[in-house]
Amino acid sequence: MSTPNTLSSVPARWRGLVLPVAAVLLWALASHLRLVNSALLVSPLQVLGTGLDLVTSGQLWLNLRASLLRELTGFVIGSTGGLVLGGLLGLWPRFGRLVGPSFNTFKQISLFAWIPLISVWFGLGDVAKVVFLSLAALVPVVVNTVDGIRSTPASLLEVARVYGYTRWQTTWHVVLPSAAPSIFTGIYLALVYSWLATIGAEYLLVAGRGVGNLLIEGSEHFRMDLVLFGMVTIGFVGWLMNAGARALERALGRRLGR
């Protein structure tokens, strides 16, 4: 591995950029020389132009805001519900035995398979989408909350017993702090999942505005530039959420002295 070769001659920090830059250059060249005679081969500049148009006309912001608003509503409802349900499942043994197996079966069914039923029950509008997003956010929060509570070290519980903690004290001072990192992970996943579900909901419950609708429009009108710009936007927002949630997770973790 230590043998010097041409691959290792590029400075380390630039290596990740080589492939994307090469790809874009190749793409630009291909569209410039019209290597493929198809309306689908748009040039990088065209995509950039479409993007600028969407940004300056306010279209992008309008769609993005609609998507994000929906996502956050679903995320807040879903993760609050998830915390309650997960807490009950983890802390209340009888409830866990009664409801746990049913929940585990429920989460096996692909979330998207529920969409047709949701659309019958709640229509195609924002209500249906928020219901779906809440479900998407609920599942990871429940799973990780229960996991966190269940994996409280037995030695800590032993100590609490020796000190004669009440059940309430044990829960508040021992179980919850030890479960906190796992609960954060659940909330973090909920944020990521609900963004994915937002795109899915816009796809399958087509009505109104949203970033997903931009994509659908582009695909229906054979506008590859619109599709590509929409993809980049979705990826970028997803990445921002990922990075933001990770930073928040770390900051909270530090505050709790971990």
Partner: protein, 282 residues
């Protein structure tokens, strides 16, 4: 998943000196079924009493009859076969490519440095984001489904393979170098065996993702398959068909997951700890 009641175990074991009597044991093992039974009863009762309109929620008998009819007239099998074929082709293609990519990056730091950032950037775009792009490129036929399902499987397999190839213990590698192992021997006899459990976890996760995207892809664009059955029923407002198809999708997904879980547990039992690999929804 066994229900380990840690709070009870840790704080209240003293209050239960002897084992619980027989009937209490029986009641405990029946507990998981209370909630589904209660819901089913409520559903049946609501349908029978006319509390719920059959257009909104058909009666359980009706769904059951539809399910039986689908099974006897052979439709169930053609749709299930179509779905299974798609998921298999996509999964095999995606995981082979994932194993290759992951192994390349796992074996060479410089390949990783060149590839991984681009890979991570592309991964940020979910399957549904790729769909319109691929749709414009290859049309709405079978290749669209294969590509999207393969992409879904590719991501976890690649990441798990990369992780697996990197976790060979340093001391083992040192032993290898003391014995004068060639690079080839080192990979085949140290790196690969320690990577196996993680590879399998990646494959399992890949299959779960492939199954999830199968449903999504079929919901959006297909003319046969289980997802299509759901959409078809929805369009005709035949909710019994929708629910029957959802039940089949759930049951199949559950079954496959259990099978892979059992296989993975067996593998893990032979190799020690079960690896943790980060997953995602789609």
């Amino acid at each position: 998943m066994p229900m380990a009641d840690i709070l009870i175990d840790a704080t209240a074991t003293r209050q239960r000196p002897a084992g619980p009597p027989f009937w209490q044991n029986l009641l405990r093992s029946a507990e998981p079924f209370f909630l589904p039974l209660a819901l089913l009863l409520l559903w049946a009762l609501g349908a029978a009493r006319g509390w719920i309109s059959p257009q909104v929620l058909p009666s359980p008998q009706f769904v059951w009859e539809t399910l039986a009819e689908l099974a006897t007239n052979g439709e169930l099998w053609t749709h299930t076969a179509a779905s299974l074929q798609r998921v298999l082709v996509g999964f095999v293609a995606g995981s082979l490519l994932g194993l290759l990519l992951g192994a390349l990056m796992g074996l060479s730091r410089s390949v990783e440095a060149y590839l991984l950032p681009s890979f991570n950037a592309l991964v940020q775009i979910p399957v549904l984001g790729w769909m319109p792009f691929v749709l414009l490129l290859v049309g709405i036929g079978e290749p669209l489904k294969y590509i999207l399902i393969a992409k879904a499987a590719l991501v976890p397999v690649t990441l798990a393979t990369l992780q697996g190839f990197r976790q060979a213990p340093q001391n083992l590698l040192e032993v290898g170098s003391v014995y004068g192992y060639t690079r080839r021997q080192q990979v085949l006899e140290i790196v690969l065996p320690t990577a196996l459990p993680t590879l399998f976890t990646g494959l399992r996760l890949g299959f779960t993702k492939a199954w999830l995207s199968l449903v999504v892809v079929e919901l959006v664009a297909s003319s046969e398959g289980l997802g299509y059955l759901i959409v078809y029923g929805r369009q005709l407002f035949q909710l019994d068909l929708v629910m029957a198809a959802v039940i089949i999708v759930g049951a199949l997904g559950y079954l496959i997951d259990r099978l892979l879980d059992a296989a993975e547990a067996r593998l893990a039992a032979r190799n020690g700890v079960r690896p943790v690999v980060e997953g995602g929804l789609l």
